[in-house]
Point group: C2
Chain length 272, copies 2
């Protein structure tokens, strides 16, 4: 497997890098960014999954994570949020489906099933590539909004693999919110039994449990909190099924990267 | 004078705000952003001047400055880089002249002289508005590239007003580089005597001197360093005319915000 370096920017004593590689899973070139602090050996790679409309660029540009990792032995890696360069039915007609909105699942519907396999792409292709390239001792996972959903789902389904799971403003119960229902019916079809495999609340209900506490931050002035994110559903299901979770509800904070940058240090300290 | 708040984002325990106000100087609505850490009394306001193509958004989104100011009593305020909403000759035809490229001077040429007065706008209008609104004890000034030029020029011309001056990758001698020559002939006309009033090297030569050391950071892998930025000219003129200056040449660093975010903490500590 081969990484194509697109841009390199020295950052502190390390570097912020934009790269791509050909993915057999998505059958497209996939982009990702990363920050490497310049350490000799990598202890932890944090996989960061971004939200709707984002690319590999948003987090690495806006979150201020490099400052908190600069003296560490840990990297952060940010994949793009969907395959690109395709022209599938409805792929580019809305912000919450198709390009920029891969939802970190394996699609089953015609057209999408051959490319929109972000779950397998990250677990079976990107992570092995990072393992081979950087030889980290362990991986953790985090993300925002749609990417918070992704972090919870990947973390719970690969519970023995990830050291720690955290999320900002995650879509915790996509089966029960408009964003999730639109995406899951478009990617998975109408059989809701199949949806449960990519819904973090349902995964916990069916016995998936991470050995460590899950860390979540949710802004209380987040416009998507009441209808799309459904944070309380995660809180309830964790309590009921014995998954330890710390959910910090943050007064006045919204859905933006200004919120993420305010608390990213806490998450990094938890994830590394 | 009235500030229109466009967007507010809680950031740490303060807020990142996007605002605008009508400027009599530019005869346009002018935008700016700021971070207020939530302190009761404001000690220092840092004016940040951005570079070519930037708006009020780049620095406040990408530099990670909020983290370093969150426990302080100091704000940072980032004006837009030119008037907007006009349609002057050649105003929108290149990235290095007209919109997004105001060069922090007072234009003399037809059309531009009525609006492109970023020097007066900042000194005579924005700063008084900030004084009246936030009651800071003092102001400092910094900026990047074209905005580094602006910080040096405003700081030297208003040498008794600003507490401290710093710059990242500044265009130190615009009279002698292509970006400056294009801008100065377009805004000031062909009489080069008039250019000297907005060239930091010339200002130092003619006796302008700041009582405090000027702090400059310059990346050595910055593609604009050899032909546009001419950092050595500032170093020479400071030595010759007794202006104290600290110029840090940074191995491997480029012209991007990844460079700025790597050293912004040092600058903030110096400026507050």
């Amino acid at each position: 497997m081969k990484i194509n370096t697109i841009k390199r920017h020295k950052s502190f004593n390390g570097e912020t890098v934009f790269a791509s590689h050909y993915s057999k899973t998505t059958q497209t070139e996939m982009k990702f960014s990363y920050f490497h602090p310049g350490c000799n050996e990598v202890e932890t790679i944090i996989i960061w999954l971004s939200g709707l409309t984002c690319t590999e660029e948003n987090f690495i540009t806006k979150a201020g994570a490099q400052f908190h990792l600069k003296d560490s032995s840990s990297m952060i890696v940010c994949p793009d949020t969907s395959p690109r360069g395709l022209d599938l039915p409805e792929e580019h007609s809305s912000y919450d489906f198709g390009s920029g909105a891969g939802f970190y699942l394996n699609a089953l519907t015609d057209g999408y099933k051959d490319h929109y396999r972000m779950y397998d792409y990250i677990v079976l292709e990107l992570i092995p590539l990072l393992q081979e390239t950087f030889l980290p001792k362990k991986f953790s996972i985090s993300g925002h909004s749609m990417g918070g959903h992704g972090a919870l789902v990947l973390g719970l389904k690969q519970k023995d693999f990830f050291h720690a799971i955290s999320a900002f403003s995650p879509i915790v119960n996509p089966m029960n919110c408009p964003w999730g229902q639109k995406a899951f019916s478009g990617y998975l079809g109408e059989d809701k039994e199949l949806w449960k495999d990519f819904d973090s609340c349902e995964l916990i209900k069916s016995g998936n449990k991470h050995h460590k506490k899950i860390l979540v931050d949710q802004g209380l002035s987040d416009e998507f909190y009441p209808d799309q994110l459904l944070t309380k559903n995660l809180e309830d299901v964790c309590q009921q099924y014995g998954q330890e979770v710390e959910i910090n509800y943050r007064e006045g904070h919204d859905h933006s990267y200004y919120f993420i940058s305010s608390f990213i240090k806490n998450h990094i300290d938890f994830l590394v």
